[in-house]
Symmetry: C2
Subunit: 321 residues, 2 copies
């Protein structure tokens, strides 16, 4: 039996068909809750709440269970599993959706079990903000940290519900373009200021191959993406980032500033593995050594020695004004 | 009199007319050599080699001299100064050229003075690679570091000369899209590998508002751009980056790995000032305090505590394989 979960994710489990510059792959296991739970399972005990259809491969459920993921909230109902098809041929940073079949996901109305109502960390993956709000309202105690994702569709058709949700969560993870769409701002720095004013502790602006910028109420932190020779499939990178980010925070049970900075790097580490293969192939088969080696690579990628002792840069004397 | 120069830049001095999301500004002082020399003048004694026409405002030359820039190689000839007009309305990261009038720049054939032939740092700004090579061949001693920039035009019409030049310089600074165009690679990591194989010590891939990645033969280093609330005018950001980068290296007379990392941050610092105003308005009026405060902001923007003592991330026990 898995331990009592320390984290809950509510989102989608899907079968995806993707077309990328390296090739095509059909009907691969995907979905926001899947990527998030697999990425976070390296760090913490996570439970997944999602819905699948009769076509869901029991082996895929077993894979999640084998990773210590609590799948008691993974409900199988009559019908077909959510299917998504997209192309990254034009832009690796942004998929063009070719087809969406919501199937059983269209009627997704999650009801949390009793043992899922008092988790300290909650991730509301990209779904209708009304459903995200419903999940949050089912918590018996307010989690230590609630984070959510969203997408352009909800900004278009459910903006009031989305804004209301944002006012009640701690961290919003959002794509760059969607942060501008949501706020009407011209720059992510302005968009983040606007969003933080709604009461968020932090806004994580996701920028695909350019990494992410975390606008926290106390600081701003930029983390690069790992410079990949080949990106095989970007699907799930954002949810893998979120899984690393929240999974790490959950594992150390700390949401302080230094923890958030390090968690952002862990997020970028997990996203970098996600894009190395189609679907979950790479993300689900990592070793402790793999993860720490990639984290160390991020340390090397970003470290520089600031000048110590208040010495400052060697600016020429005439400019000492 | 300025000191004997420690660095030389050969490039353009121009009058630019720009259209940006914040407005329009006509006939502002610009050009690669101008931005580079002003940015580097905070750190080192730089000499500029360029050509201007009869319409060049003596006050603009005086502004450079007042900054300690050696303008003895700034030649005034019959005709009009280089004029460029561009728009950033569609994309702040990439200008659309509306008009280019090369004017006196069309016949630019720099002849270095004797006191400019043995500088330890040389920047060959974006001009015809045949001219860049001619300047390099005029050096009496091989500089400690030669860096160059280029653009899509030269990749299109002078590729063999450009490749030959790259084989003879130490650092190439190049835009992301142009690095892919030059190498035919799909990713900047691949492009950098290809370019380093030509003998470069480092390739600096410039990514506009996403910062830069330095692919050095010994390491890879990512530096973000400063998250600006408003970018007023991106013109000159790349040359200001180069000026901060090489100006800092020249000032400490060190091209070691740690120096290159810190220089990349100084480059991003100077680029961040360049985009805050039209043309050189902000870049030319910085104090030592301004520069050090922005450098400190980059330290805050990027620092995180790696886990010490070989402790590693708290990956769950079942994955210790």
């Amino acid at each position: 039996m898995p331990d009592t979960p320390k984290m809950l994710v509510v989102g989608s489990v899907a079968y995806d068909s993707v077309d990328t510059p390296t090739g095509k792959n059909d009907d691969q296991l995907g979905g926001s809750a899947t990527f998030f739970s697999v990425a976070s399972s390296y760090f913490t005990d996570v439970a997944v709440v999602a819905v699948v259809g009769e076509d869901f491969d029991p082996g895929d459920g077993q894979m999640l269970s084998n990773r210590g993921i609590d799948t008691s909230g993974l409900v199988r109902v009559e019908g077909k599993t959510f299917r998504w098809s997209g192309s990254y041929r034009e832009d690796l940073n942004s998929a063009i959706t070719l087809d969406t079949q919501l199937n059983v996901f269209a009627d997704f109305a999650p009801e949390l079990g009793d043992d899922h109502r008092d988790v300290p960390f909650l991730f509301l993956a990209n779904i209708d903000p009304n459903i995200q709000a419903s999940v949050l309202s089912q918590m018996s105690t307010r989690p230590k940290m609630v984070a959510c994702d969203t997408m352009n569709l909800w900004i278009d058709i459910a903006r009031p519900a989305l804004v209301s949700l944002i006012e009640n969560v701690d961290v919003l993870l959002i794509n760059e373009a969607e942060s501008l769409q949501l706020t009407g701002c011209d720059s992510v720095a302005l968009a983040a200021t606007d969003l933080l004013a709604k009461g968020l502790r932090a806004v994580v602006i996701k920028r695909g191959e350019y990494g992410a910028v975390v606008f926290h109420k106390n600081f701003t932190f930029a983390v690069p993406a790992y410079p990949m020779v080949t990106v095989t499939d970007p699907t799930g990178a954002g949810d893998s980032f979120a899984g690393g980010f929240l999974g790490y925070l959950s594992s150390i049970d700390d949401t302080g500033d230094d923890a958030i900075r390090r968690a952002s790097v862990v997020g970028s580490v997990m996203a970098s593995f996600a894009v190395e293969s189609y679907g979950l192939d790479r993300l689900r088969s990592l070793s402790t050594t793999d993860i720490n080696a990639r984290f160390d690579a991020f340390v090397q990628l970003t470290r520089f020695h600031p000048l110590g002792g208040g010495q400052g840069l060697p600016v020429q004397a005439q400019f000492n004004n």
